[in-house]
Symmetry: D2
Subunit: 362 residues, 4 copies
């Protein structure tokens, strides 16, 4: 196939150099395949996952070394392959964090995210994370999304991971009108989960966390009760306030022990959906009283972020039409890509005022 | 079985006397079966269905003659049967409009509304509509609902038919996050449909009607576009504004022709749910171009109001927790049950400022 | 309410006397409430659950002492309450093992089995297990089922627990046409699971067990592969034969470790449904590699037997119309209720030729 | 992109010459795009749709003139594009009749068949029907399916349209274990519908048709009742035999009036799925008594054939594992492609012994 080359063939990327160390390096600008695109980065949002990869990357995932970090970005299309139909240079876009290959049997089976090509950087020297001047993706028509005029860059920036993960998880809960929902962990994903629950008909919504900034946004998003898990037994507190167990629980943080907490919170016949990744433990231990000894009618789902143009544009439609405003998630702003390390430091410092940082490249 | 009798064994009821004529009559207060209850009426809301029954009742449904009208009411429990567990005299309750017999195979099959005992007045001289001093129902634990303290009588009054019909219909649409929805007919049920769509994740919502009072409430409930069907071809207008067909359509008014309108509006793969009753026509004619000649991947659902304590209390939870405020539906208020005829006259006069009237008995 | 009394007011029941000891005792024949019935026992099938209760009953569930064992039976209606509509003396019936109270909020919510009154013997001196001359149940119309003429007593005997548990579990798997399914544990419930999978469109079906009698029936029911777990690593064997993981797993035996086995067997995006009860362990430990560290897209369901007339008659329709023949499950037959202890002894002896015994009362 | 050319660049195809006339013509062998393939035809099955196109093609669909007929075929891969991963020359394959573009928003939304590229021949001079020596398709990995060794060519030949249409339609019925199903029209698609219903748990299955050959196969596939619609009112007959309405109806033939027949047959709360195409009528008229005046709780679905490798291989798995044997559908065999016209003539003659013909090319 023919490919084209960006005039000026190098760029800067913020790459994992070694354990606990990232640095700006000069990288080649990838050539674009006929279905692909290059997106000029406007704003990125570093994430706990980036910090995690930085801390463990050189050890547990060796091929990550030398790769740029990042998976949340908004930009302007710079170049598209010759077979791209729906995007053109100059379009303002958000890039899907989960990038399914829709030409896969998993997609045919209705589960495209199971064939997520964003996991396969290892095989592709041209690809990596989003903290680069020009981000390259394989299939523009499938994994970019147009941003409606009325949606800001910062709103769009929260869509591909924070919103996509939470809305996917909440969708799996199957909430019915008026159901009571608990969200365990109200970092940025959990906060989106609060909003997703309200937009799926939840009545009472418990937000469990510990930080004032989270509780403030949770309340703005529609949480009816905010519960500080530092203040005693939050499971008992919720069961008492609610007069019994809740209908559904989204787990968006904590540890493997949170699954048993969720099982204690949820009624028989209810669902627990987990969207957190628990790499610290080799096992997840379910308490059999909470789980019902195997026949307690409690469903446990383990949900991954979804992606693709269609899903992202549906979420952006929620922003466009006033149902969802992700802007309050961005608590810290940096102007100039050189500040990326400062943004990451906020996570390392466990800054209690941080939800998400935005780093503007210019 | 033993039964008890209310001291002072007569009451007043507003009954269908003949075609186009209703009048207050003295009726016996029914004796309560062990599972039943008497509810003292506080406030009722006459309805287009009442007008329809009045206009056709004596001709097409002879057994309705002599029966009180009405199916939307809020009241105070006056008396309960000896086997009632969850309600006691003095409780403030809303009465289910659709009263399923949950001891039925239909209920076992997950479709309790298909065995709706509120349709069987004909067999029971003790039962009738809700515009009576003491309303009698067969199964209090199953078909009454407690009203949360923070919910007003007027809010609760809109739950058993206006909200229950619309939320049931919208639930059948299977709306996904960000979907575009059209609501055809924004009388009080359609307006509840607008809100139900927003609370099921709809993005853009088109409200099709003709009256300013409807458009005002529709906008408050989250409609993004209000379309007056008197101003030209509303189907073409929506297709143009939306850049193509919508994902789902709720039909909440009009005529059998509205089904074809809805099929023109909805995309292939989408769903039309009808909650209107079309008694004027013997057939419903689908345009085959709109329907896709039988394989166009458009689903048509014909949905009836649901009921029962569980469903009503779920809807009341939406009010309690601030997701839904039905109060704006009540545009006219009357104090004193003698004003019931005036309330009905508003429908006969096609009062363009009317959504729903509330008639307080005292 | 009025009640009636059976002439000759005592009967025999096989009751738990103390740990590891059951004996025949003379019991009063219960009086029938207006919705209830007495069913004269024709044939029963003791079960591992009975053995389990006998072994632990006096210690862990004190109120079981003095109660008759048993929950699977076929009989003839002897007497019905005055409000029973659908059953009359002389009707041949199967009794639901799970007896939901359909007048419950759980039933209204579509999950009647969550309000299973067969769990509440503790509160009712008149009620107990089915190994009695006259079995009393509270609601005949809801929890008896008519047996079609072409269905034998032995076929019907396997419906209320063996079939109802397995078909309910398999229904929760959401099998699609052509899916590959593994059934972990092919005792009588697992064997019914094999058939349920075939009747839900499964293609390849792996039956994991160890006994020739099980494998013979599994093959007759449509299993394509029988795997003996004593012969090496059955998970590896299945993954190799299948060329990868399966679409769905029914766990119908084993220990809590079987859940991790099932997670190893199932593909991402697939479902594990457990219908076994794991009382031996206080926890269930999930291997995080198998589970995907919380976001592996594998769903775990913990499913209880369902019941009620509608469900049982649907399963009986499968027998009537030739889809399902439960008769091969009965491997041992006894004539005379005095042989009940012998039937139980087969379980205690771990008889490798036993699937289920039938004990005819006469 | 680079393409390759088959040595010997012409082939024969059976093309629509004008209204009611098809003829063999010499055509260029298309060049293969990087994702495409050429499949050498082994056996085809002409179809009523081919006859319909031949009869109306030149008038109503002008661009069909000059195109080969056919959409059901089995063959051997002759050539694949350079980016095809899963198929290679020599592979025995079945070609999907519905060929979705899985790189489409419709596919992302879970409804790939809505972007069926087999409908877009008009835009592509290289593409046409399957009655050609070398069939060209755009995306081999997505729309070919491997045939298991144990599955014959004739069995596989019935998969892409007869089975795919019927199983898709029945899947949409949502049949539960033990449900009663009626199949209206038991031509080859309806017969597959009978089998699909049995493999989705149906109990009683009514097959409505008129020809002995159909009834013979219907019974072999598991129909419990065969009903000849020439012998009086088949709706009344079924309602009487069944003691009431059925749970679900598949419409696989007839006219638009069949939809009302189906509505008369189906219970409230049940579903009618139509898989027939009704081009003869401009409208479909629903009887409002049968439909319930708009709120009768009866769902009408209009279902199109589905396709793609994953779905076809799932259906082939049913054949491989002995659940489904499509072979009895083939009642007439021809050896030599020159006999294609004779095969078509069987349809024109309304041969009452015909289900489907197979035409072997050699």
């Amino acid at each position: 196939m023919t490919t084209t080359q960006l005039p000026g063939a190098t760029m800067q990327g913020f790459v994992i150099a070694e354990k606990d160390k990232a640095e700006w390096r000069t990288l080649p600008v990838p050539a674009v395949n006929p279905y692909g695109a290059l997106v000029r980065t406007v704003v990125v949002s570093p994430c706990t996952t980036d910090v995690h990869l930085l801390q463990t990357g050189s050890a547990s995932i060796p091929w990550l070394v030398g790769k740029p970090i990042g998976h949340e970005m908004v930009g302007i299309v710079e170049q598209v392959g010759e077979l791209v139909r729906e995007f053109k240079p100059g379009d303002r876009v958000v890039v899907s964090a989960c990038q399914p290959d829709f030409r896969s049997l998993e997609a045919q089976a209705g589960q495209p995210k199971l064939h997520n090509t964003s996991q396969y950087w290892v095989d592709d020297p041209d690809r990596g994370g989003s903290v680069v001047d020009y981000y390259y993706l394989l299939d523009a028509d499938m994994n970019l999304a147009h941003i409606p005029d009325s949606v800001t860059d910062e709103q769009a920036l929260m869509i591909p991971d924070m919103a996509a993960t939470a809305f996917e998880g909440v969708r799996e809960l199957g909430i019915g009108y008026g159901d009571t929902v608990a969200v365990l962990g109200v970092g940025p994903v959990g906060l989106m989960g609060v909003r997703a629950a309200v937009l799926h008909g939840a009545g009472r919504v418990f937000a469990i966390g510990s930080r004032p900034v989270s509780f403030q946004v949770a309340t703005a998003y529609g949480a009816t009760d905010t519960i500080d898990y530092h203040e005693g037994d939050f499971v008992a507190e919720i069961l008492e306030r609610n007069g019994g167990p809740v209908d559904a629980v989204l787990v968006a943080g904590g540890t493997t022990a949170s699954i048993t907490d969720a099982l204690r919170l949820v009624r028989r016949g209810g669902t627990v959906a987990n969207v957190a990744a628990f790499f610290a433990d080799e096992t997840t231990v379910l308490d059999n009283v909470a789980w019902g000894y195997g026949y307690g009618e409690k469903t446990i789902k383990a949900v991954e972020c979804s992606g693709g143009r269609w899903f992202l544009e549906k979420l952006l439609a929620l922003v466009e039409h006033g149902r969802l405003d992700p802007a309050p998630l961005i608590t810290h702003r940096f102007h100039g890509k050189d500040h990326t390390a400062e943004a990451l430091q906020l996570f390392l410092d466990h800054d209690r005022t941080l939800l998400k940082p935005a780093v503007y490249f210019d």
